[in-house]
């Protein structure tokens, strides 16, 4: 047997160096957030206002990220877009409201720690209930329609209607005022910029969840399986893992995160209605589309972009606030038709 002549590399793997442009292209979406912030600074031309708006935008983005991350993972993993995802957001908000109502002694106290301590069980219970609802929803509504997009959309939409009506049954038809804990009202003044305290809390919680998610996805075995499943579900299945079970777990976690986002969003808006789920879903979908279906990083960037842009635009010209996020979506899709960090190839 003769050895192949040197220089023939047809068998040896060939690793091509990505060109500079390609590598820059991969990083480009990351630069969008600071770029948008700078554009905002130029357009607003008042640093104090800009700081206030940026904090507000980041807080809003973090909350949208909480609500959207579960949705995008579920899509990536099982190719199911859950139009009923908004239901879990609403469930979270209403359960959180009920729990905070029981803890009114803590929320009305003037101590920061007692206030945060009240927030904790509210979030925990909301996440548990939303996760439980997610479990029931997956078993009853989503499971029978795997692989049929049309039916998925219709059925999850139907599920959303049912959950919204059930919320009306349990909590009544009126919009409910959800007041923030005592010490989280008002704002901190840094220099000339006033930042609402609650927004700082939202940013911290959002960042913490993002970091935890990154760690869980990148450093644990389950995370590895989820990422692999998003990339190629059949292959993971063939290796002997039960992707259905994995999916169910992700669905429950995603619903729980939506519940967390719901509590946060409810406290941010200070009013909750049974229809809040379907209203916020629009923003969530825009974020998921911008980020690229199935990608957590893209979702994070998309959420921050949407949060920042809508706050800047709401300040500059209030009339076009929501339209601006649509414009953002169109621009992103023209640049990258599959979203910023597409994980799932369009089928």
């Amino acid at each position: 047997m003769s050895t192949p002549p040197a220089g023939d590399t047809s068998i040896a793997p060939k690793i091509e160096q990505a060109s500079l442009a390609e590598r820059l292209g991969n990083w480009a979406p990351l630069l969008l957030v600071p770029a948008l912030a700078i554009v905002g600074l130029v357009a607003i031309a008042n640093p104090a206002t800009w700081i206030t708006l940026t904090a507000a935008g980041l807080a809003m983005g973090m909350m949208i990220f909480l609500m959207a991350s579960g949705l995008t993972l579920v899509f990536g993993l099982m190719d199911v877009i859950n139009f009923g995802h908004g239901a879990f957001i609403a469930i979270g908000a209403f359960v959180g409201f009920t729990v905070l109502g029981y803890l009114s002694g803590w929320t009305d106290a003037a101590s920061v720690w007692l206030n945060l301590a009240a927030l904790f069980p509210a979030i925990l219970v909301a996440m548990l209930v939303a996760g439980g609802a997610g479990y029931v929803f997956e078993r009853l509504v989503v499971k029978p329609v795997y692989g049929q997009h049309l039916k998925q959309i219709l059925v999850t939409m139907g599920g959303l209607i049912i959950v919204q009506q059930l919320i009306l049954v349990f909590w009544g038809p009126d919009a409910i005022h959800l007041s923030r804990p005592q010490t989280l009202r008002g704002s901190v003044v840094i220099g000339e910029a006033a930042i609402e305290k609650y927004r700082l809390v939202a940013v911290v919680i959002g960042l913490a969840v993002f970091v935890c998610m990154r760690l869980a996805l990148n450093r644990t075995k389950v995370g590895l399986l989820v990422r692999a499943g998003v990339e190629n579900g059949e292959m993971v299945e063939a290796l002997g893992y039960r992707i259905q079970r994995l999916f169910l777990a992700v669905f429950i976690v995603g619903s729980a995160l939506a519940g967390l986002g719901g509590v946060m969003w409810g406290l941010y808006q200070e009013t909750i209605t049974a229809h809040m789920g379907s209203e916020i879903m629009v923003l969530v979908f825009i974020v998921v589309i911008i980020g690229g279906l199935g990608s957590v990083e893209g979702c994070f960037i998309g959420a921050l972009l949407v949060g920042l842009l809508s706050n800047y635009v709401a300040f500059l010209s209030p009339k076009v606030a929501l339209v601006s996020t649509i414009a953002l979506m169109v621009v992103v899709l023209m640049w990258r038709p599959q979203g910023l960090y597409p994980v799932v190839k369009a089928k």
Partner: protein
């Protein structure tokens, strides 16, 4: 002659034929059979929604496209007519101008959306249209100078279509022959014409291609049909017809506002009507719209009775309260997607062909 009018697409089920005939005759003679404003209001709503739902079925049932922007086109038509009537005065000319302008705008917008997003998968398109539609809703409520904002527009319609206009001095079968009656028949016959037109579309070679696209886009492409072109055409066509349905609503109600034309609730209603009636059958739109609107109007009362009867049982009576009728319809919706994917019409037709064997 009749088969020609129906484009050869007969109901193909005896029960269905009877039900459709009953609906048709009831709507045709509604002012005489069910005198009273409320029932006439209901009948006109049914006519308009039959057209709207059928035009949505053109997308959902025949082409397999899930769009959440259908109310946007409906609203464009309604606002087109409303703005024209508002600015050009109450004449048939302004209705015509509004209708043409509205349907052209709807067609253009549908074309743009199609161009941008029909290449991608169904789920993606659904999300994009949902986002676009809600942006449009916000835009309409913000541009209050043109659209009246949240309050909407009140305007006059041609005098011939108002109750003040008397056609005959005497009553006909105890019914006053006035402009309201004319307005109803205007709505009814335009709806009928639009419905027959759609029946013609779906039974033409064009309609067959749409169904081929729905069944298997890849194969349709392989045979040589340009799938994106056909999908875009279907979107444009259904958008134009939805806009015309909007014109009818605007003329009938003499009021156009975001809540009556654009809200997500109406979109959900349309979805429910299509699926419960039966996707991919124009007659499903008739059945679905009729059942839904009758339920919306009259189920309340029935449920109020049920709720009162169960008053001692706390949760059950809350579940049965008249405001919760959508809960039951939602449940019916989910169940019908699972168990009767072809809806009532498909079920009836299926039963017929089974017994024929």
């Amino acid at each position: 002659m009749l088969a020609n009018l129906l484009s050869g697409d007969t109901p193909r089920s005896r029960v269905l034929t009877i039900v459709l005939l009953v609906i048709f005759v009831s709507l045709l003679l509604a002012p005489f059979l069910f005198p009273g404003t409320r029932s006439l209001e209901t009948a006109a709503r049914i006519c308009i929604f039959v057209v709207l739902v059928a035009s949505y079925d053109l997308l959902l049932g025949y082409t397999g496209i899930v769009s959440f922007a259908h109310t946007m086109f409906f609203g464009i038509g309604a606002y087109g007519a409303a703005i024209a009537l508002n600015h050009l005065g109450a004449s048939f000319g302004s209705i015509l101008v509004g209708a043409i302008a509205g349907s052209l705008v709807a067609a253009g917008l549908a074309f743009l959306i199609g161009l941008f997003s029909l290449r991608v998968k169904a789920i993606f398109f659904a999300m994009v249209t949902l986002a676009v539609a809600s942006a449009f809703l916000v835009l309409v409520s913000q541009l209050s100078g043109l659209t009246g904002g949240e309050d909407g527009l009140n305007y006059k319609i041609p005098r011939e279509l108002t109750p003040a206009f008397k056609l005959l001095d005497d009553r006909l079968f105890g019914v006053r022959v006035d402009g309201k009656l004319l307005a109803y028949y205007f709505v009814f016959f335009v709806s009928l014409a639009l419905f027959l037109l759609m029946l013609r579309f779906v039974n033409s070679p064009f309609g067959r291609v749409l169904q081929a696209v729905r069944e298997n886009a890849f194969r349709a492409e392989a045979i040589g049909y340009r799938v994106v072109t056909y999908r875009t055409l279907a979107t444009v066509l259904s958008a134009m017809i939805a806009a015309l349905a909007g014109v009818l609503l605007a003329v009938w109600l003499r009021y156009t506002g975001p809540a009556t034309t654009l809200s997500l609730e109406i979109m959900v209603d349309i979805l429910l009507m299509v699926v419960i009636g039966g996707m991919g059958t124009m007659y499903g739109a008739v059945i679905g719209a009729t059942i839904f609107i009758l339920a919306q109007t009259y189920l309340h009362e029935l449920m109020a009775v049920a709720s009162d009867a169960t008053a001692p049982i706390p949760l059950l009576s809350a579940l049965l309260s008249p405001d919760r009728w959508l809960l039951w319809l939602g449940l019916l919706f989910v169940l019908s997607v699972y168990f009767f994917p072809a809806g009532i019409v498909g079920r009836l037709r299926g039963a017929e062909s089974q017994s024929a064997k």
